[in-house]
């Protein structure tokens, strides 16, 4: 080959090699797969407060789970026969002891919560009012709206009363069984020694206890308050704490249910766990911790939807089984107390 002549193939080879090298460098430098490790000071981990001592877990989960079929389930209740009522989307679904759907009740206004009377009457809380359905699922009444900016989140039944928790206006409303307004409970009143409810999010639960006192969760103050039916604050228990006995986060617990022995079941969001307390508010143990409920103790949630749907609802049946409505997966999980070793 004459001097000064360059082969086409060599030139092409040099250009291609340079292009491949530049591409490799770009891939490495740009980290297009997002594998750059985030410095530890920017990582948010909850391992230390989310891990639960296995000795404190007193319940085991039953194999059967109830698939609600909802896009968004919101509330669960158990009737005297053990049937499971789940409110979500625009209906209420009723499941038998085997987990089979036996009835559907349409609630076009969108049910947020429900309470079941002994005679089978169903009191359904929608965003701003209560609807009543009979045992056959027929609508028996629609109560007037409870007020502007209302957000009904829970209903509890007394002997002759219906108590409605309104998270939007941070108050508990008392009605008779026909829907006549009888008063309000828990509003800020220095004369009665009530500080008022602190409800930063739409999680505001209540339950009627066997002792006749209405138990109301005050989530922003991390405690459960006991009121007489005419609104007198009798006692309260609960505290903020990062330990397993306390309620962590800005506003917990999000749900409350009564056990047959007068004890309480609570559910928390953030550190998603379900715990049991005695009738006097003494910590008894854990039904399920974050590992059992969401599969992880460190990373509690990823997307906004997951995080905002981590406020599970709880209920209990007459045998003391705890029902947890998983609002992320829209299933009902059932937990039974472990039998003590002989």
């Amino acid at each position: 080959m004459p001097k000064g002549i360059m082969d086409n193939r060599i030139v092409a080879g040099i250009i291609v090699a340079a292009a491949v090298g530049a591409a490799i460098l770009a891939v490495i430098r740009l980290d297009i797969f997002g594998r750059t490790e985030v410095p530890v000071q920017y990582q948010y981990k909850l391992d230390q407060i989310a891990e639960v001592d296995p000795n404190l877990i007193l319940y085991s989960e039953l194999p059967r789970q109830i698939e609600t079929g909802f896009r968004q389930a919101r509330g669960v209740a158990i009737d005297a026969n053990g049937s499971v009522f789940v409110a979500g989307d625009s209906r209420i679904s009723v499941f038998d002891l085997a987990g089979q759907r036996v009835k559907t009740i349409d609630v076009p206004a969108g049910p947020q919560c429900l309470a079941l009377a002994e005679d089978g009457t169903i009191y359904v809380g929608t965003k701003d009012h209560v609807e009543v359905y009979d045992a056959a699922g027929q609508q028996a009444g629609v109560w007037p709206t409870v007020g502007p900016e209302a957000f009904v989140t829970s209903i509890a039944l007394g002997k002759d009363d219906v108590f409605v928790a309104d998270a939007g206006r941070r108050t508990v409303l008392r009605f008779d069984r026909q829907g006549k307004a009888m008063g309000r409970i828990g509003d800020k009143d220095p004369n009665r020694g009530t500080e008022g409810f602190v409800v930063p999010s739409p999680h505001f639960d209540l339950a009627m206890a066997p002792d006749g006192l209405l138990r109301v969760v005050n989530p922003g103050r991390h405690r459960i308050e006991a009121y007489t039916t005419d609104g007198q604050l009798e006692v309260s228990w609960g505290r903020f704490g990062s330990d397993v006995e306390g309620f962590t986060g800005c506003c917990n617990p999000v749900s409350l249910a009564m056990l047959p022995d007068g004890g309480f079941v609570t559910a928390e969001k953030g550190v998603v766990r379900v715990k049991v307390f005695g009738p006097d508010g003494r910590f008894v143990g854990v039904v399920a911790g974050p590992r059992q409920l969401i599969g992880s103790a460190g990373e509690v949630c990823q997307t906004v939807d997951q995080c905002q749907n981590s406020g599970f609802d709880v209920a209990a049946d007459r045998q003391g089984r705890v029902y947890v409505l998983d609002t992320q997966r829209n299933i009902v999980r059932i937990f039974e107390k472990k039998s003590k070793p002989a």
Binding site: M1, P2, G4, I5, M6, D7, N8, V11, L30, D31, I32, G34, T36, V38, P39, Q41, Y42, Q43, Y44, L46, Q48, I49, E195, V198, P200, S201, G220, R221, H222, F240, S242, T248, G249, C250, C251, K269, G270, V300, C301, Q302, T303, V304, D305, C307, Q308, S310
Partner: protein, 187 residues
């Protein structure tokens, strides 16, 4: 004869190279004009519904201090006394001491309003966009804190290096005249 037609003389190589350079330059100019036109119409922004606050907004921006900042939709906030966007998961005490704060830069301010409510504000000059507060607020609170690209800082790269690293695909192009995707529906 065949060898002569296949081989490239020095003059020929230089001529070809000059043509190639001119063509590449024309192509580059056309690309720049197109990109600038596109940049003038759209900007980068984070969709807060997809953001998982992974921390890469703080580490991957081409700028020394990230153009991503935390913003606060006050209408969604609970004004909690114990805000887990502000406090560490295990605070030593419930006051504003640095050892209790979640933010590694101390960029969140806490101001007493009335019992038991506190207001939380973001000091953008201090914020590096790591998203720890967003994680805490989403997990425990109402999710009022979220990350947004600030367009008084962002240089609107053609290929955003944070967008490339984002594990949840939260970055997208939005119209430059509606450059923000604030929670609560405001743009």
């Amino acid at each position: 004869m065949n060898e002569k037609s296949q081989s490239l003389t020095r003059r020929g190589f230089l001529t070809e190279a000059l043509w190639g350079t001119c063509l590449a330059g024309l192509g580059g100019l056309a690309g720049m004009a197109g990109a600038r036109s596109r940049r003038n119409r759209t900007v980068w922004q984070i969709d807060p519904a997809k953001c998982v606050a992974c921390g890469r907004c703080a580490t991957n921006c081409v700028l020394q201090q990230s153009a991503v900042k935390c913003v606060h939709t006050f209408a969604m906030c609970g004004y909690c006394r114990i805000c887990f966007g502000f406090f560490e998961p295990q605070p030593h005490a419930l006051h504003e001491g640095a050892e209790n704060q979640l933010c590694p830069m101390g960029a969140l301010g806490r101001r007493f309003v009335e019992d038991p409510y506190y207001e939380y504000t973001v000091d953008e000059a201090m914020c590096i966009g790591c998203g720890k507060c967003v994680k805490g607020c989403n997990a425990f609170g109402n999710g009022s804190l979220h990350l947004q690209v600030r367009h008084d800082r962002c240089v609107n790269c053609n290929v955003c290096s944070i967008a490339d690293a984002c594990p949840s695909g939260a970055f997208r192009r939005v119209p430059a005249d509606h450059p923000y995707l604030f929670k609560g529906g405001h743009t």
